[in-house]
Amino acid sequence: MDHLVPHFIELIRRAATDLPADIEAALRRARAEEEEGSAAQTTLDSILENVRLSRERSTPICQDTGTPIFYVYYPTGWSTLELKRQIREAVAEATARSYLRPNSVDPLTGKNPGTNLGDDFPYFHFEEWEEDYLKVDLMLKGGGCENVGAQYSLPDGRLDANRDLEGVRRAVLDAVQQAQGMGCAPAVIGVAVGGDRASSYIKSKEQFYRPLDDTNPDPKLAELEARLTREANTLGIGPMGFGGKTTVLTVKIDTLERLPASYFVTASYMCWADRRRTLIYRDGKATIE
């Protein structure tokens, strides 16, 4: 297999230091909508200034470079063992270059190996596909926003949330209110309806790979996404929880089959520093989007 380690290092560097254009544009729109001179607006000014500086200096946008989550789509015949080996090598090197903070800690001993490597760190998902090129999606999922993610098992009596889209709406709005500014609002909210506890969390996070301005192919979900975005922004939590009009940038929803006994609604929270990049490797040439 080709030696792709330098391309993987570059993918990590771009993800950690160069905020995607759709996220930055949404932050700029949010800034324009906040009141002139408000805490919300000055906060967004600092955030945008930080985005600019990080890109210019090639330093991490946020010091919590999170869990690196790799989704690898590979053509038939490629070795996932070798891909994993090369990506792990790139992760250790990117850590040595201070693109990533050493973030993997043994929960029993508290030891931090300083490399971002462990048996289950970073996180991988491999999928063979019918295309003739390699695609690697990388998301850096911070810990502060991970902590405020929430899962609801419907029906939920406290919220009067039943097993329907109205129940989903109530659960998601509750999750946004509970999070306050602690997950670094304004957020992207990824929602999964259905599945088991684990698959529902995974599906909710996969929503963060979607472009911010895409349209959900299911008209009912598209409508709910728009309504939730609008309503969450009436909660008044605002950037960093200082108050303001922008609490979420958008809400993305997907579903997965559930058991008759279970009806999970999972809301994962992505901070404003929504760091994701994609590497395409085709005919010996790499591009990063």
Binding site: S46, N50, D64, S98, P102, G110, G144, L159, W272
Partner: protein
């Protein structure tokens, strides 16, 4: 709104003059401490009848640095120059609420005047701020490159090998670090106010 300049060590009088919403620029020496550091302090300094011999030096240094001093909830990205000197590359605040079980004791014990973090803290910390003359200062989460540019020097680091880079006590010198008072020494918390206002708006939507 006027911006207040604070230089460490900070007097109680200067702290009691602050109110929620005030913007502050910080100058001087501050020390980072986050999750593992708080647990370490509880286990090592507060639990037993005496401080274990090997930990006395760290304790003495922290006592000197935090008397009228400032703690920062932060786990930085650092790099080391060829001459061996540490540098802060990226250093925004981490979520503070996780230290709620510990912070009131830490404020009382060391005589801290300010805790910097993000997301705010709870009633125990708020009450400790009121009782001992301290404030909670909010930095902008995720603005890590920008904040690192106010860190002019890394003066020292404690417990790096045991706790790891993000969790160590980093002693740093800052110039003009911008923060906002969101919990003051008069029992007022912006976070409490925001929670209650958003809870009422949520109730109207459900």
């Amino acid at each position: 709104m006027a911006t207040v300049e604070l230089h460490t060590p900070i007097t109680e009088e200067a702290i009691r003059a602050l109110h929620v919403g005030d913007q502050v620029r910080l100058y001087g020496t501050i020390v980072t401490a986050r999750d593992a550091a708080h647990k370490y302090m509880k286990d090592t300094f507060f639990r037993g009848p005496a401080i274990p011999e090997g930990e006395q030096a760290v304790y003495d240094r922290l006592r000197a640095l935090w008397r009228d001093g400032v703690m920062y909830h932060c786990g930085p990205v650092v790099s080391r120059d060829t001459d061996g000197r540490w540098r802060f590359v990226s250093a925004g605040p981490t979520t503070s609420i996780r230290e709620e079980p510990y912070e009131a004791d830490v404020i009382a014990h060391f005589g801290l005047r300010a805790v910097i973090g993000k997301g705010g803290m709870g009633p125990k910390t708020l009450s400790a701020c009121q009782q001992h003359g301290a404030v909670y200062l909010h930095a902008i989460g995720g603005a890590a490159t920008l904040i690192a540019s106010y860190v002019k020097e890394v003066l020292d680091v404690f417990k790096k090998d045991e706790l790891g880079v993000p969790e160590a006590f980093w002693v740093i010198r800052v110039e003009g670090f911008p923060v906002v008072v969101t919990m003051d020494a008069h029992g007022v918390s912006l976070h409490e106010q925001m929670y209650e206002a958003s809870r009422q708006r949520l109730a109207a939507l459900l």
